[in-house]
């Protein structure tokens, strides 16, 4: 890796570790391997959102050309969010694409992602299904997102109705995550979910 990339990542790594946000456990970053090419990021779900109390794992890949190109970031933890693919975890965020600036750092990227969780952009969606729900049935979106946080991101309190539905699908031999995706994308309509799964 280019000298400048390594140096910068090392610096930014320290910056994140020492930052106030890290002290408050809002963001964190860990090394994967020892060559700084890949990092594991962690952001806490922002308060007053369905993600409150959750911790999301991020995969951060640092390109050779960093910082002239943005790092490749995606969610490892499954999340229900209009701008993040519920399947792959790919993020739709301008600064990670065409609006990148060389002066941005790991810390600013993680904080931006946190802000993205708090303020979704349904008009520029990554996951069209989620965005649709977000716009058309916002309360249900909030509940779904909260339930996803419970299932995948360690939020203690879950929705018993949602978990019952998931269990019923699982009893039919459907995997848990598959059942969750199907139900979530069908606005928790059992029949539509079954239709979608078995058609």
């Amino acid at each position: 890796m280019a000298n400048i990339a390594i140096q910068r990542i090392k610096r930014e790594f320290k910056e994140v570790i020492k930052s106030d946000e890290a002290q408050k456990c809002a963001i964190n970053v860990e090394l994967v391997g020892d060559d700084y090419r890949e990092l594991r990021g962690e952001i806490a779900g922002p308060p007053d959102t369905p993600y409150e109390g959750a911790t999301f794992q991020l995969e951060i890949k640092v390109p050779e050309t960093y910082p002239f190109n943005p790092p490749k970031v995606k969610f490892v933890t499954k999340i229900w969010h209009p701008n993040i693919s519920s399947v792959t975890g790919a993020i739709c965020l301008d600064i990670l694409k065409d609006q990148w600036a060389a002066a941005m750092t790991l810390r600013t990227v993680l904080l931006s992602l946190q802000a993205l969780l708090a303020a979704a952009e349904p008009d520029d969606p990554q996951d069209a299904v989620v965005a649709k729900q977000f716009k058309e049935n916002h309360p249900l979106f909030l509940e779904t997102a909260q339930y996803w946080s419970h299932v995948h991101a360690g939020v203690p309190k879950g929705n018993s109705e949602f978990s019952k539905k998931v269990r019923r699908l699982m009893d039919m031999g459907v995997g848990e995550h598959q059942a969750l995706v199907a139900l979530s994308s069908c606005n928790w309509d059992m029949d539509r979910a079954i239709e979608q799964l078995f058609s």
């Binding site: 910068r8 610096r11 065409d98 002066a103």
Partner: protein
């Protein structure tokens, strides 16, 4: 400070005028022996008839010439014009301590070495090694100069060499006899000088101020015949070393030269007797380089000195404010980057964010982003059309400084021929907006008009006008950057070969484009 001192000193040396003419009345000693190589250019007379007999044996004047009749110098009293030589057979060789030291190898011309045997105590007190070094010198002036130097305790090679330069340019030959006459002649009428231990050579014609000489010439036009050495006035007298009244009134002015030793070190062993002027201390540069009587010189010096000082201060301010600036891209402290070539700032005209030149240029050349993105500041996204390279950081608050930097950058670029214009053969897409020089081979500048516009219909059928210079700075930067990368890699190579000095030198050797605006 040290640099400033030396610079000023060299300027002084340069300004110092050479002793002028006035010796044409003196017969050339070398000509007399038929060996003068100067020919017509010789400062001394080649006319036996009109020239005064200047070859008076000073030992004869002392009354103890060993050679007596066979002496090749004139045994005559200065006052007596006729060849009233009288035979001097008496006396053993008393004055030849020096000659006998030199032994039989001593040539005729060096027989009567002047200056060295002078009874001036300060000469004797000076370092003997230097003295003996200067002994074999054939030229009197250089001998005297070097003895002057040694006596002034100045070991600096600068002053001695500059003095020697002056001596050699001023008097190629023969001055020894003159000074001999003068000093010996002065003994009788002005014992004061001898008593106060002024060496005889201070009265050599080279050291006689022009103005004073003119006075003498005016008052005594028949100088060739009436040989009265007392009429010569030395600098020492004129500029007031020993004789304050004359100095302040008449002939000092700009003709007086400052004593280089005193100028540099603030002290001169000759003290009051020094034939040069001891300047006043300049408070700014702490050198004794203010001419006591020349107001103009003082004014000029103060002006220059202040300017120099201001420049130095500005430089140190620039260093201070650049010292801990961190590049927003590589996050390194710019001034502490490993290679000298990397320790440069790329200053954006429209915002105050700090980057090193390499980083910001690289960013602005990224291909994967829109122009709008890469041409904006990576920190604040303020768009800037170009980057100004600078060795020091210029704060955005200092509007004046930034404008100055920009101006000097554009100035520097405008001297460079545009590679697209090709002295009229090519066409520059940037038209008269181009920063580079559009000049025809004969040097006349040409206004090529505004940049060409391209018309293009976009997908919606709307007419769009594109300026060709949309990406002017991409071109400019890319050109510079490629060069830079090449240099950088060569420099790295040199560094690997542990040729650090060479590497830095190499890098900065031909860096005119990007360095042009550096402070």
């Amino acid at each position: 400070m040290r640099i400033g001192r030396e610079r000023y000193y060299w300027k002084c040396c340069h300004q110092r005028k050479m002793a002028e003419g006035g010796v044409k009345t003196v017969l050339c000693r070398y000509f007399m022996n038929g060996v003068c190589r100067e020919g017509d250019r010789c400062h001394f007379s080649h006319n036996r008839d009109s020239s005064r007999p200047s070859m008076i044996c000073r030992y004869y004047l002392k009354g103890n010439c060993y050679y007596g009749r066979s002496c090749r110098y004139d045994h005559t009293w200065p006052g007596h014009q006729s060849g009233s030589e009288y035979n001097q057979t008496e006396g053993p060789p008393q004055h030849l301590g020096e000659s006998s030291q030199q032994g039989p190898a001593c040539t005729d011309t060096s027989r009567h070495k002047d200056g060295l045997t002078l009874p001036a105590p300060h000469v004797q007190s000076s370092q003997p090694s230097l003295l003996s070094q200067s002994k074999p010198n054939k030229d009197f002036s250089s001998t005297s100069q070097s003895s002057h130097v040694t006596s002034n305790t100045s070991n600096s090679s600068i002053s001695s060499s500059s003095l020697r330069k002056k001596g050699s340019s001023g008097s190629p030959s023969n001055s020894n006899s003159v000074s001999c006459v003068v000093s010996q002649g002065r003994q009788a009428p002005q014992p004061l000088l001898q008593d106060s231990r002024v060496p005889s050579w201070v009265d050599a014609p080279e050291f006689v101020p022009k103005l004073a000489k003119e006075d003498i010439l005016n008052s005594q036009p028949d100088i060739s015949t009436s040989l009265a050495p007392t009429d010569y006035v030395s600098y020492a007298q004129v500029v007031g070393a020993g004789n304050k009244e004359t100095s302040s009134t008449t002939s000092c002015g700009s003709d007086g030269e400052l004593c280089p030793t005193y100028l540099m070190s603030g002290k001169c062993q000759l003290g009051e007797q020094c034939s040069y002027i001891h300047g006043l201390m300049c408070e700014v540069c702490q050198l004794a380089c203010l001419h006591p009587f020349d107001e103009e010189q003082r004014r000029i010096h103060k002006e220059e000195c202040t300017k120099l000082m201001e420049a130095e201060m500005e430089h140190s301010f620039a260093v201070a404010r650049s010292k801990d600036k961190v590049c927003g891209i590589c996050m390194d402290t710019v001034m502490e980057r490993p290679l000298a070539s990397q320790r440069r700032f790329g200053i954006l005209p429209n915002c105050a964010h700090c980057f090193c030149l390499n980083c910001i240029r690289k960013w602005r050349q990224s291909k994967q982003f829109e122009n709008k993105i890469i041409r904006s500041c990576p920190e604040c996204r303020t768009q800037s059309d170009f980057v100004i390279p600078s060795r020091y950081w210029v704060d955005d608050k200092d509007k004046e400084e930034k404008d100055k930097l920009l101006l000097s950058y554009q100035q520097a670029l405008s001297d460079k021929p545009c590679k697209y214009f090709k002295q009229g053969e090519g066409q520059c897409p940037f038209g008269n907006k181009c920063f580079y020089l559009h000049a025809l081979p004969d040097g006349t500048k040409k206004d090529v008009g505004p940049p060409r516009r391209r018309r293009r219909f976009n997908a919606d059928g709307e007419l769009q006008q594109h300026l060709d210079n949309m990406a002017l700075w991409d071109f400019v930067l890319e050109r510079e950057h490629r060069l830079e990368l090449l240099r950088g890699s060569i420099q790295t190579l040199l560094l690997e070969l542990e040729l650090e000095d060479l590497a830095d030198e190499f890098y900065f050797a031909d860096d005119s484009v990007s360095e042009a605006s550096d402070l």
